[in-house]
Symmetry: C2
Subunit: 207 residues, 2 copies
Amino acid sequence: KIPEATITRLSVYSRYLKDLEKKGVVTISSSEIAEGVGVSSAQVRKDLAYFGEFGTKGVGYNVKDLLSYIRKILGLNKTWNLILIGAGNLGSALVTYQEFKDRGFNIVGVFDNDLVKIGKQIADLKVLPVEDLPDIIEKYDVRIGIIAVPAKAAQSVADVLVKNGIKAILNFAPINIHLPKGIAIQNVDLSIKLEALTFSLTASRQQ
Amino acid sequence: KIPEATITRLSVYSRYLKDLEKKGVVTISSSEIAEGVGVSSAQVRKDLAYFGEFGTKGVGYNVKDLLSYIRKILGLNKTWNLILIGAGNLGSALVTYQEFKDRGFNIVGVFDNDLVKIGKQIADLKVLPVEDLPDIIEKYDVRIGIIAVPAKAAQSVADVLVKNGIKAILNFAPINIHLPKGIAIQNVDLSIKLEALTFSLTASRQQ
Ligand SMILES: NC(=O)c1ccc[n+]([C@@H]2O[C@H](COP(=O)([O-])OP(=O)(O)OC[C@H]3O[C@@H](n4cnc5c(N)ncnc54)[C@H](O)[C@@H]3O)[C@@H](O)[C@H]2O)c1
Ligand SMILES: NC(=O)c1ccc[n+]([C@@H]2O[C@H](COP(=O)([O-])OP(=O)(O)OC[C@H]3O[C@@H](n4cnc5c(N)ncnc54)[C@H](O)[C@@H]3O)[C@@H](O)[C@H]2O)c1
């Protein structure tokens, strides 16, 4: 099983390689990648070794080939249709998030169960009732769902998503969602990010 | 230097221990913590070892004491005042994010440079002009800033924050911000989270 940290670093390597490709760099070594992203060259080689032998000893990697290979591993050589549940403050912001579109992630439907929100226009989408989920999932071959509902609703929403064929969830609700085996989940916990900052502030104060 | 992954796991351990404390659990072993959060017990012991010797061999840790100790390390035994720059879609959502308040993170000021946004009411805050930053930072002893402006504005906003005494930044803009040594930063990259999901979807399809 490939460590999650390796997959995260693959995303980071791909962004760095994309930058290099734009600048016209043709070849790169693992130590140059390492320096570019801030990890050890041993880590870079270890991460890439999970996926096969590429690059030439003493020469390095071809930037275009390595980038294309990493993007293939991450499933980024295609666009993905997503649905979002919870047309509230966070959900409305996510619908407008340009970076998702730039990277091939298209939110094709946003859903809510509040009559006040249903029918409301958010960017180029109209908020739909949760009842319309199965149709949209089928019409757009959706496999990824974003959960932006309150914590107390998150588990039931996840159950509905899984029942309707969603295989991967990005969850913003501050709760651990229980899922059947084989359903991928990524939780976004902004407080953990802030705690990493307060750790730094506390640690430096004690020096 | 303590690995970032260790600090993130400390946050995860503290949430698990808080849950146990609520349930009235008094003592816990590293393998029980490990099982509770999904890492190896060796990892738990390794993480805690950075911070000293606690717990009793063969007996385990006292839940209350360990929780209190970890919270102290993370700087969570106090409240923190934060400011937020960028009263747009994301910024407005973040101002209302209850989980921050529940964990002792208070957004005391939200700023923008758009005349249309300045003076607007968002929850219990009025959007202020960026010129008011120094006063608010001083008045509330603010050391953490949240950047929720577009990528092209993020570096200059970071420079203003640092110039005015901010020591730690939570950045949502999809750009690498350059900072002086000693300023802590945490970047939120939601696309990386989605790529971890598309990796799972792609990997499982290839089996
Ligand atoms: N606001 C933020 O910046 C922020 C940041 C990180 C995480 N979160 C989390 O994201 C979630 C949403 O936060 P928010 O600030 O947008 O809250 P919100 O109350 O503004 O929005 C929640 C929306 O979900 C809808 N909803 C509730 N139950 C539903 C259900 N069963 N089916 C479909 N829709 C349902 C509500 O009608 C509402 O429109 C919360 O769990 C919050 O903790 C919010
Ligand atoms: N929308 C999302 O869900 C989301 C998610 C993750 C990250 N982000 C990132 O967060 C940032 C904000 O996204 P958004 O959707 O809220 O955009 P937005 O355009 O709605 O908001 C940006 C706000 O920043 C203000 N601003 C611009 N330059 C400024 C400056 N120099 N000083 C002070 N204020 C300034 C603008 O006036 C505007 O109100 C972007 O970098 C975006 O990529 C957004």
